[in-house]
Amino acid sequence: MAAEGVNLTMFGAMTVAFIIVTLVLGWYGYRNTRNNEEFLLGRNKTSPVIIALSYGATFLSASAVIGFGGQAAVHGMSLMWLCFLNLFVGIIVAFLVFGKRTRRVGRRLGASTFADLLGKVYDSKGIRVFTAILIIVMMPIYAAAVLKGGVNSIAVITGLTEYYNYILVALAIVVGVYVIYGGIIAVMYNDALQAAIMFLGMLVILIVTFVVLGGPAEAGNSLAGLWDQKIGETNLGVLPGFNGWTSMSDFGTKEWMTVVTTFLLGVGVGALTQPQLTVRFMSAKSDKDLEKSLAIGSVFMLVVVGSAYTVGALCNVYFENEFGMTAFQYISSIGLGTDFIIPQYILEVFHGMTFGDVFISLFLLSLVCAAISTISALMHTIGGAGGYDLYSVFMRSKGADKDSSDVNVNRICIVIVLVLVVVYCYLMPNDIIAKATSVFMGMTAAALLPAYFQALYSKNPDKPAALASIVTGTVSYLFFALFINKGMCIFLPVCEMLTGQAVLYPDSILAFLDPLVISLPISIVTMAVFLLVKRARAAPEVA
């Protein structure tokens, strides 16, 4: 029988304390936000610790813990490659190859947002507008998925599923209040607070999992042996090619395609072009601060992500010991989906334990923090894209000679999009967090990564090459997402409307290939061709 919800008095007390601190930090941000630049960047007011924790909390969030933790329960420890990519690409490459240059170029050009940065480097209103529109259109999908993940966790762990709608609106209001009033300063300080709670929560659950399962060695051996018991069963939630929870799947199979191309590459590479993360670089006072952030950010990421994926995989042993089922089988048996595995596991494993309610409350709070930190950063970025980038271009077309400095326009944009995000939460399907994350990150990488790289490293950035790369990356990604990939087409079933079937080749291996694997190379090759043609044309003139 499934465990009942957490002690609401305990959780309520911890939540009230958390909300008070959150609002105080929001007030601090409000007091320190005098103009639009401070709303967008909070430049020179953020320490390395704040940058590192804010970057980590924004990057990982509910998506990593709830979404990908649940995927680790189904697909096993192969998800640890995502932890490695998060560290290597999302921290080392992002900070050292992109971060320092972004800070310097952003400061030199006076850029306040990611779209503003690209627009100013290429001296292109089109690139700025396109990037802002991409953010406004695609980011709410990701924001809604993360919000849904947070609300689902609260509803399951508290047992208050009948109050789902109230929880959803309350969570959206908490995010809205401090983003709207506090700007980036409130967002980053709250991120740091939430990161600390996440760090503590994940460390506790990792230790408890090892203790409950008899230690790391016993837990690992049990998980390896579980596959021998379950091999041949069909209701495990995996695809052909799966080899157990402690093994990598067979190369080129449907399981491998899904895990490697969608979960690992989509998010692993896509982390480089996240507008909400690049503003963290632009917020840094100096390169030294970014260097220091590297150390703190990596430890934070290893503990949070590594714990989530390891616990996700190992919880299969717990569910097998307690209920004779794998995590996926158990969660399916109580009518829930993959995104509920981690919250349900927390509820079960701490049930009846001394101070169990304290730990459950702590973990639930860390899940809520994980959701809030990402949503707040996304809403802040969306507000900047609409209220600063698009509005500035619009005002300049009306004769204004500088970018908008009106913070209130950003705030209005955030309110409008937040309402849309809440509405979208009701419309989107279940078990969507990992896929929505992958779609947003993959799309931005395919469209913007080559142009972003050129913007930072070319002495003479070429606008036509950047535009061509952005257009081909976007179009090819959309085509493969809407017409070829089985997992992505659920967001907008255009193919089904046109052809009557979900994707063009449903039985082909292509249906499991993430669009990023096709569209990013197309985007890179397009840029390379344009640059080579430009160089070839310039050569005779030089000669």
Partner: protein, 46 residues
């Protein structure tokens, strides 16, 4: 070879890669802090 019940080199490689990445970040991040500060002071002065 099996470490904590895991014998697949791909999975072990992922864990080892994670720990090496963190070790690099901590050592590099802390050691570069002062060097970068000196470079920036020099840039500001020029």
């Amino acid at each position: 070879m099996s470490i904590m019940g895991i014998s697949d080199p791909w999975i072990l490689g992922a864990y080892i890669g994670c720990f090496l990445s963190v070790a690099f970040c901590v050592i590099y991040g802390l050691s570069r802090g002062k060097a970068v500060e000196a470079e920036e002071d020099a840039e500001d002065g020029s």
